[in-house]
């Protein structure tokens, strides 16, 4: 009988707490968003499941090694985030998957990617005002870059206790780009501006595409060595893709390696969302101000687009500025959709890919600045 009671005391039923139940509901909700609504399913599904796994009472998955006993599976997998391994590997996959041609043929759109990073620094100041430390404020502000791996990388290095909330916020807003961005884009542009048809992009040569990652890393690496783990891997992945002599490596970076890392990253980010870390007032602030950061980034991108439109005599459609917030390629698709609503014969997708990948570089540089200075 004693053994029976001991067994009962070891079940989840006798150890369940309200906070754990709430986290289980949140995990299930993220699974619902990923599966039923198809919002960033590649990440929300493993994150949601990770939340479930660590929030069961007495869950051994995140247990640290103790008294010679090994730790939990997710504890070891989490080392990949703690040591800053997964986000750069994801960046390598992104580089191998990304065609930088629209950016190479229209390099001024990089400035749209730069403008969209203003939201990061605006939110950084807001979070300082609300009483967060500078490291925490930077981790929250980076959500405005709408770049999941960058947000995870920075918060894992600066404020690991906020990692769960920051990454859930970052990926949620990336998934909600089609809902968040269009009202801001419409608010800041006139109908005529949204109708602007841009000149066709010139074709880039293979040599240009090979030189881009090399020059890109030389410039950004010299400006900010702290951003090398992210940008170095991004450019390496792109070099794999473009050089044409390492197809196997390029395919591995795009598929096998990327998929494996996405699984580990998603699961372990979810595993960081324990009730004690997640169910706090700070999380609500992070979710709210993450949205603010994202909205400011969208707005400043569009405003920079308007400046470019005026400067070029109406040759740039300001809508593409909204794609400067990264969220590749979702925000570029949103630009295309909003532009096509006003002018059905307008195709902005390729033009928006320029600021889109520029935003990826810009947010990685912003993360590098925080890492270097704070």
């Amino acid at each position: 009988m004693e053994k029976f009671f001991h067994f009962v005391s070891q079940t989840g039923f006798s150890n369940i707490e309200v906070s754990s139940l709430v986290m289980l509901v949140i995990g299930l909700f993220l699974l619902y968003l990923g599966i039923a609504k198809k919002y960033e399913p590649l990440l929300l599904v493993p994150i949601g499941f990770g939340i479930l796994l660590v929030n069961f009472p007495l869950s051994p998955l995140m247990v640290q090694p103790e008294n010679g006993q090994p730790g939990g599976l997710l504890y070891y997998l989490y080392m990949g985030i703690e040591l800053g391994i997964y986000p750069p590997l994801i960046f390598m996959g992104v580089g191998a998957l990304t065609d930088f041609s629209p950016l190479i043929s229209n390099p001024k759109t990089l400035l749209l990617g730069a403008a969209a990073q203003i939201g990061i620094f605006g939110t950084f100041l807001s979070m300082l005002m609300l009483g967060f430390t500078d490291l925490e404020a930077a981790s929250i502000g980076i959500i405005g870059g709408a770049d999941g791996p960058t947000a995870i990388y920075l918060s894992s290095q600066m404020a690991p206790h906020l990692l769960g909330a920051v990454s859930v916020a970052a990926y949620s807003y990336m998934a909600l780009v089609p809902i968040i961005q269009p009202p801001i884009m419409r608010l800041l542009t006139t109908k005529d501006e949204r109708r602007i048809v841009m000149e066709e992009l010139r074709e880039t040569t293979r040599r240009e595409r090979i030189l881009f990652p090399v020059i890109g890393i030389l410039v950004t690496g010299l400006f900010l060595p702290e951003s090398l783990p992210l940008l170095g891997m991004l450019m390496l992945g792109n070099l794999f893709r473009e050089c044409g002599v390492v197809d196997r490596l390029s395919k591995a970076a795009q598929n096998e390696l990327n998929n494996i890392v996405v699984i580990f990253l998603g699961l372990t980010v979810g595993a960081k969302c324990t009730a004690s870390h997640f169910l706090t007032f700070e999380t609500i602030l992070i979710l709210v101000f993450g949205l603010v950061a994202f909205a400011i980034g969208t707005a400043t991108g569009v405003l920079m687009g308007k400046v470019m439109c005026k400067a070029t005599g109406g040759k740039v459609n300001p809508l593409i500025g909204a794609a400067g917030v990264s969220a590749v390629p979702m925000s570029a698709r949103v630009c295309q959709a909003v532009g096509q609503k006003e002018n059905p014969s307008n195709f902005l997708l390729m033009f928006a890919m320029g600021p889109n990948v520029g935003g990826v570089i810009g947010s990685a540089i912003a993360a590098g600045i925080f890492l270097a200075v704070l």
């Binding site: 620094f121 100041l125 300082l128 005002m129 609300l130 040599r207 810009g362 540089i365 600045i369």
Partner: protein, 143 residues
């Protein structure tokens, strides 16, 4: 600590301005370099041409070497005789491409330039219908 006091404590304004400026500076430099990338690639791909131009720019103009007079033929009579045999074989009037093809088939060297010279020398003349004939009188004078 909250409010502006917190920002000042953490030097937040400096950080924000520094951050924005650095992002813009890095991406601006990158944009400028990329915008010139295709020019650099074109320069590299045509380096011989541009190096030649550069060399001419810095070296004094050289006196053009006198061009040797081009001798198409050692012997116009012999060329005319060879082509007369071919033309007799083909029949008149004849088309120039056909004559060139025949000449190349039988192994006459520099068929194009030889025929051109025969035309200039009035040994082969156009018949105004797009074909050509041998000028028998000129040929007789030649021999």
């Amino acid at each position: 600590m909250k409010g502006v006091e917190a920002i000042l404590h953490y030097d937040g304004f400096t950080m924000a301005v520094l951050g924005i400026l650095t992002v813009f500076a890095a991406l601006l430099v990158l944009a400028v370099i990329i915008s010139q990338l295709h020019n650099a690639v074109t320069l590299w791909e045509n380096k011989k041409l541009y190096l030649g131009k550069l060399r001419r720019l810095f070296s004094p103009p050289e006196e053009p070497e006198p061009m040797p007079e081009v001798q198409y033929f050692d012997d116009l009579n012999e060329s005319a005789r060879q082509f007369k045999l071919l033309i007799n074989n083909m029949g008149e009037p004849f088309s120039l491409p056909e004559l060139i093809q025949k000449a190349e088939t039988v192994g006459i060297a520099h068929a194009h330039s030889t025929i051109s010279h025969l035309i200039v020398s009035n040994l082969i003349v156009p018949d105004k219908n797009g074909y050509y004939r041998l000028n028998h009188e000129a040929y007789k004078r030649l021999s």
